[in-house]
Amino acid sequence: MRVDPVLLAATEPGGQPIHYAAASGVFSLSWLVIVLPLAGAAVLLLGGRRTDRVGHIIGTLAAAASFVLGLVLFATLLGRDGDDRALSQHLYSWIPVNGFQVDVGLLVDQLSIVFVLLITGVGTLIHIYSIGYMAHDPNRRKFFAYMNLFLASMLLLVLGNNFLSLYAGWELVGLSSYLLIKFWEDRPAAATAANKAFYMNRVGDVGLALAIMFMFATVGSTSYADVFGAAAAGVIGYGTLTAIALLLLLGACGKSGQFPLQAWLPDAMEGPTPISALIHAATMVTAGVYLIVRAGPIFDGTQAARTVVVIIGAATILIGCVIGCAYDDIKKVLAYSTVSQIGYMFLAVGLGPAGYALGIMHLVAHGFFKAGLFLGAGSVIHGMDDDQDLRHYGGLWRYMPITWVTFGLGYLAIIGFPGLSGFFTKDRIIETAFDKGGTSGYLLGSIALLGAGITAFYMTRLFLMTFHGKPRWSSEGPAAKHPHESPVSMTGPMVVLAVGSVFAGGLFVLGHSLQDWLEPVAGTGVEGVHTFSPVVLTLLTLVVTAGGFAGAYLRYQMRPVESVARPDTEVSLVTFAARHDLFANTFNETVAMRPGQYLTRFLVWLDLVGIDGLVRGSAAAIGGLSGRMRRLQTGFVRSYALSMLGGAVLVVGALLLVRAG
């Protein structure tokens, strides 16, 4: 049995620092993984219109090159010894101020390489897809530039070997996300959504920034090695550790669209669909999960923070599922599905080392099937002339067979159809939740189980309303639609992702391959007592899933679907609430936005009338006073002479007085 180096460090007296092997050989080139897409972005942005014609090719090649390099690194890592797979590379000193020494450095280890492959792999596929999807957009070059920028930022986020590098990547992916959400800048909704995303992310970023400050104040360093070494050694007080963990969690919630900062993610669907697939489903929004797993040694030391993580995860699962059932916009449903799936990942990683690997596994599997689903949705939207309303679809399977099949596979994967990836990964999370034991274990397990059922319901609803049933569109008339299959550049990536959705889960789970791979980083769960035997639980999950499926089938396949949603006044209270995002936006507006606006207006008034008024008031007072005083200047020479005389007499009198006194 391998020994986790983190735990090993903890067992030694004094807490020896964690050592990462120095990068050498091909690993000394790992910076290229980041720089390649960055260079792509720089060339495309600085090149301007000159690069319009080749922009998409440069962008895609940069992403692909990065992926290939990632594969090479991975292969080389595979060839190394299990305990020797974490390699740190110091690039240069970034912010050195006396005790505060921050370097730009990279850490290639089992965890980051998984992310590198996911990001560059899915990223490359989506680059290829975008060539077709954005073919008619005049700003396609810029789109690819931003996507490359995103890849570079995200890679910096996962490859950095200290928290400040992570933070830099963290905010830069926020920037890329902002730029891409508002890519169609002339749409006010897109600009607003982008701003909302950035603001809410910034709220999370405050948490992350404060966590880093706490680390520096406590440990005197922000590098993973030092912080985790100290955390694992148990020298950091419980309160401090919990504070750091909770602040990290705040950052994670912001980035990953978790409760209470989930409201931006559905709005972010205003961006082009490839972006929704890449950033807002497969990679960026999972950064929160990465952060928690990466900061495992911190969370390991604080049960309180962990409890908060699982609560947030569980709450978000339900929120996402419930709202997902109510929306008719295909992308919003998928967005809330993302919210809820990331809730699963949070739940998993909140369960401790037992769940870290599961969370990552679900993350990777989710990356495949959700990216595939979004690309499929994009293909459908493309074919339906940018109509995103499920109620205007129906019976599309006949017209876009490849999309139907690939989307269908993704759909089966997400609801956990036996043998597909979601089945393996989600099932294990539910199992682990139950295994936590006690009331909380039952509660969490039940929520996860319930979530699986609702997921099956709304995803079946989505699938049936899109591809099956009677067409609710017409090929004639003013709103004529001519659904058609998308070009190869779009279907190709969809096929690849569908294949991934089918097999990824099996690959990861069978023989514990991914779990073993991640073990040195994520640690290993104690093989505890199962609350239910795995077989029973799997069957139970299947039954619940089937229930959800059956519900949706009866409702949306056996009965005709209206092409117009029922108005708010005629739906149940739950549906009403769900349609309004469970009032999250209302809450944000009432609690933060409106008072902020009033405060701003008040302060503008205060500044003008109060502070500046004081200044102008005193100026006016002096002016008024001198206005009075100048009345003394009558212009009569003789009165001046009199006052001079008076003055002279006064002076003489005073002198005499002084002399006499």
Binding site: R630, Q633, T634, G635, F636, V637, R638, A641, L642, L645
Partner: protein, 99 residues
């Protein structure tokens, strides 16, 4: 002779001059009153020069005279030009230089 008498005389002259400046309206008379005050001061200076036995006071008196002469030139010119424009030499008519 008691030098105090000279001082008393000069004080009287000075007072007359002062009163003249304050109460008379005609610019020429005011001007003459000013000359009177200057000469009262001259008298004082010379007296003290005599009392102390030094020349400082007398030198000072010459200065005053020179200044007074210069002043007469400028002052009379001003009064003259005022009279030309306004047909009056009353100082109270010339009160434009006010607030």
């Amino acid at each position: 002779m008691n030098p105090a008498n000279y001082l008393i005389l000069s004080a009287l002259l000075f007072t007359i001059g002062t009163v003249g400046v304050l109460v008379r309206r005609n610019a020429i008379v005011v001007f003459m009153s000013i000359e009177l005050m200057l000469n009262a001061v001259n008298l004082t200076l010379v007296t003290f020069s005599r009392i102390n036995g030094t020349l400082d006071g007398q030198i000072m008196a010459f200065f005053v005279m020179v200044v007074a002469a210069a002043e007469v030139v400028i002052g009379l010119a001003i009064i003259l030009s005022i009279f030309r424009t306004r047909r009056s030499a009353s100082v109270d008519d010339v009160n434009l230089l006010k607030y």
